[in-house]
């Protein structure tokens, strides 16, 4: 056990060093859980932010959502997680968006965790549901057709034929005394091929975990030069069987709320995020596995 703890702490230090030095960009939201990270860490959070869960029991999670009320962005995913001693692993599949703009994702994560710390690496690969060539063929027009005459403009770009890409990310957390939790995550330290659907930056945060109340504060650095950092803060009430939470974000200022419930090995959660201009986003998850 001492060996495992030692390995985990070394892993956290290494991960933090890598993340701090490589703070450039990160992206991917297919596996984002309904519950705010790192309120509950599991297979989804390991695939989404490379935050390895404390528990090692197997877990199966089904995720879905409709971002901004747009059916064209509907997403569904399945993720599975497993642990052995201090090692943690997760894998998942996801499909997002309609055929014209959507993509499919496969992701893997591996890491280590102890009750006081955790670290992981994540890898995700995406492929457009339709290639540029297929879209052009379906629209019946050549890629260089005049604007407005085809459903998809595929001409003139600098990435002709690139419809698949991948990313590598890492994350780590530490919980000294188990009440305070610090984490840092960079979902995309490295990207290759087709660009991800969203540029996400390095995130770091702190959480306070009481018996019935939990609160957190996180900051995500701007993903691109000239962008602005974003922040989120939340508070959750309840225990393992039932909980509710609210979370506020800035840029632009908005809020989300959610609830979760567990009955034996079954758990469900749902969250709604409001936006000052865009329609609401809805996300849900169903999990099968022992309580954390």
């Amino acid at each position: 056990m001492k060996v495992a703890k030692h390995r985990a702490r070394v892993g956290v230090v290494v991960a933090l060093a890598i993340l701090t030095l490589g703070a450039t960009r990160s992206r991917a939201q297919e596996f984002a859980p309904a519950a705010p990270e790192p309120l509950v860490m599991g297979a989804a959070s390991m695939l989404d932010q490379a935050l390895a869960p404390e528990r090692r029991a197997p877990e199966l999670v089904i995720l879905g959502g409709r971002p901004f009320g747009l059916a064209a962005l509907d997403a569904a995913a399945v993720a599975a997680g497993l642990g052995w001693r201090s090692l943690r692993g997760a894998a998942g599949l996801a499909r997002s968006g309609d055929p014209a703009i959507g993509w499919s994702t496969v992701a893997f994560a591996i890491g280590g965790a102890t009750p006081g710390a955790g670290y992981a690496l994540r890898v995700a690969a995406r492929r457009d549901r339709r290639s540029d060539a297929a879209i052009a063929a379906e629209s019946g027009a050549p890629p260089d057709a005049p604007p407005g005459t085809i459903a998809t403009d595929l001409g003139g770009g600098t990435s002709a034929g690139v419809n698949a890409g991948g990313e590598l990310g890492a994350g780590a957390w530490i919980a000294p005394g188990r009440v305070v939790l610090l984490w840092v995550a960079h979902p995309q330290l490295v990207t290759r091929g087709a660009a991800p659907p969203l540029a996400r930056g390095l995130e770091c945060g702190v959480a306070w975990r009481g018996s019935r109340v939990r609160a957190w504060l996180a900051r995500e650095l701007a993903a691109a030069p000239g962008g602005s950092d974003t922040h989120r803060a939340g508070i959750a009430f309840g225990g393992v069987d039932a909980s509710a939470w609210v979370e506020a974000r800035d840029a632009p200022l908005r809020a989300g709320l959610g609830v979760a419930a567990r009955a034996g090995p079954f758990a469900v959660g749902v969250r709604v995020d409001a936006h000052p201009v865009l329609p609401q986003s809805v996300r849900f998850e169903c999990a099968l596995g022992s309580a954390p």
Binding site: R25, Q29, P67, F68, G69, L70, A72, L73, G97, A100, I101, D128, D132, I135, P146, P147, G148, I150, A151, T152, D153, L154, G155, G156, G157, T158, S159, A160, V162, N163, G165, E167, T191, R192, G193, A194, A195, P196, P197, L198, A199, R200, A224, G227, T230, A251, P252, R254, D273, H275, V277, L278, P279, S281
Partner: protein, 555 residues
């Protein structure tokens, strides 16, 4: 001096009346002699050969003019008379006839051609008979009494003669006997029977009717003779390009001096441009020179059609009007004049003429600013107008803001398009749709030099097409919207997949209900949500969003 002359004339009149004889006026001729009935001394432009003096014999017997002298007087000093013509033995005036002494260019040719070299007033002409009887016709403000019979007549404007009206008037004063009139050498100044069409009174409505459509023709007739016309003696005829359109009797009595408005509605003839002529015919009409009036008209569309009007520019481009060559032949815009409802007076120039058949051109208030606002447009098809007639932005009581007018240089109408500014969002041009109806432009900036965008009904509030493109693609994405109001203030903003605002695509501006915007995206790879936010003048608002994808390689 004038008072002295008047007193002397009054004394003579009084003594003659007391004696029971016909009135006798000094320098005013004699009752049994022909009178000077018309003097034309100031033609428009060069007078030479156009001046004339007309004598009229109102008596019942012929009068010989042998030895009679016609003299010109210079009113600047006393006694400055010079002979211009002397009657020969063959010169005689028959009873009721006229004798014209004038230049070689007088039409009809005068009885005697002479160089009169008459001066503009204050001056005079004098007819001196062999027995010493003389008649003076003075004009202008005279300083010396010898240059007028009684009070001199008012000076006549260029192009008008001094005519004795009635022809046998003899009141003892040039001022009351003579008045300015259209020159009528050899003809009565005031015939007994003369029906005329008042020059310039002919008009049609609409100004450019379609073939076969109802057109309203108006003209004014006047009875200028000493006598009038009973009902049925007068008729009016209309013709276009030599083809008779109408011949109608006037059933009303036309008394002396009466004016009659002719108001006729008839189908417009076949398409074409030419003269519409209104002519009056009257039984016993003694003067045929004033029987007609004409108007350059066009039936149907002209060579240049007005297709788009920017009357309230909001982007510094200045006012502009798009025209289209609707013919099968090239058209040179320089052959036309541009203007507003006050008339077409602006010369069209610059640009690369001619306009090809079916081609478009723009006449702009300011070519430089227009080209800056439309950098991608073909500037060779942009023409300047001098002077530019500024177009109104607000409607008048009739619901018309202004009328874009184009005429050929000979005055023939080419196009006259009234427009209403009501309901047109600020800065948005008005455009003629394929069905001929005018309305707000589908593109807030307009579609100059291009055919109108025919926007089919949109089943959704907001749409982007295409929804997917490569980063760096040169082609534009078209954003379309369909709002439940006539017009609205609208903006479109792009948010990234995390809901963060990343770009303003369409800044807040007034737009028509159905419209589109050509957007050249500059977003990096990613998924974006385009959010449309529209507000009606009533305070209602509406939002809609569309997901789009920009593909590209990861940096």
């Amino acid at each position: 001096m004038s008072l002295d002359s008047t007193c002397r004339a009054a004394a003579l009149l009084l003594s003659s009346s007391l004696a029971g004889a016909a009135p006798v006026f000094a320098q005013c001729g004699a009752a049994d002699r022909p009178l000077i009935s018309e003097v034309f001394y100031d033609a428009v432009g060069d007078d030479s050969g156009l001046e004339f003096v007309e004598l009229f014999n109102a008596g019942a017997a012929p009068v010989a003019l042998a030895g009679v002298r016609l003299e010109a007087g210079d009113g600047s000093a006393p006694g400055r008379w010079s002979v211009r013509w002397t009657g020969a033995a063959r010169d005689t005036i028959a009873p009721g006839m006229r004798f014209v002494v004038g230049g070689a260019r007088v039409q009809p040719a005068p009885a005697v051609i002479a160089t009169l070299d008459l001066q503009n007033g204050p001056d005079a002409v004098r007819l001196v008979w062999a027995d010493g009887v003389s008649e003076v016709v003075g004009y202008g403000v005279q300083e010396f009494s010898e240059y007028a019979c009684g009070t001199a007549a008012d000076d006549a404007a260029s192009g008008l003669s001094l005519a004795r009206i009635p022809d046998a008037a003899r009141t003892g004063s040039n001022a009351t006997d003579f008045r300015p009139a259209t020159p009528s050498p050899g003809r009565a100044n005031q015939p007994d029977r003369d029906a005329a069409v008042i020059a310039g009174s002919l008009s049609i409505e609409p100004g450019q009717p379609e073939p076969g459509a109802a057109m309203r023709v108006r003209a004014r007739l006047v009875s200028r003779g000493a006598l009038g016309f009973p009902p049925g003696d007068v008729s009016v005829q209309l013709g276009f390009q030599g083809v008779p359109l109408l011949d109608r009797d006037i059933d009303a009595r036309l008394a002396r001096g009466d004016t009659l408005v002719i108001d006729l509605v008839l189908p417009a003839p076949a398409a074409g441009a030419g003269e519409l002529i209104a002519r009056v015919t009257a039984i016993g009409d003694e003067d045929s020179t004033d029987d007609r009036d004409s108007l350059r008209v066009r039936i149907g569309a002209g060579p240049l059609e007005v297709t788009e009007i920017q009357f309230h520019p909001a982007h510094g481009e200045g006012e502009w009007v798009e025209v289209r060559n609707g013919t099968s032949e090239p058209v040179d815009p320089a052959a036309f004049l541009y203007g507003d409802r006050a008339g077409a007076k602006g010369a069209i120039h610059g640009g690369a003429a001619p306009i090809a058949p079916g081609g478009y051109a723009v006449v702009a208030q300011d070519r430089v600013h227009w080209r800056a606002a439309f950098p991608g447009a073909d500037s060779t098809r942009v023409f300047a107008v001098s002077p530019w007639a500024a177009l109104n932005n607000a409607n008048d009581a009739n619901g018309i803001a202004d009328v874009v007018t184009i005429r050929e240089r000979d005055g023939t109408p080419c196009a006259a398009v009234p427009y209403s500014a009501t309901g047109i969002p600020d800065g948005v041009p008005v455009e003629r749709a394929a069905d001929g109806r005018w309305g707000p432009d589908s593109d807030p900036m307009g579609t100059p030099l291009a055919a109108p965008h025919v926007l089919p009904p949109l089943a959704r509030t907001f749409r982007a097409a295409p929804r997917r493109w490569r980063a760096g693609a040169a082609a534009a994405t078209t954003l379309e919207w369909s709002l439940p109001w006539a017009a609205a203030a609208l903006e479109v903003i792009a948010y990234d997949f995390a809901g963060r605002r990343v770009a303003v695509i369409v800044p807040p501006e007034a737009t028509p209900a159905r419209g589109q915007y050509r957007w050249h995206p500059a977003l990096g790879p990613g998924v974006y949500v385009l959010a449309l936010d529209a507000h009606a003048a009533t305070g209602q608002s509406l939002g809609a969003s569309e997901a789009v994808r920009v593909t590209g390689v990861a940096p």
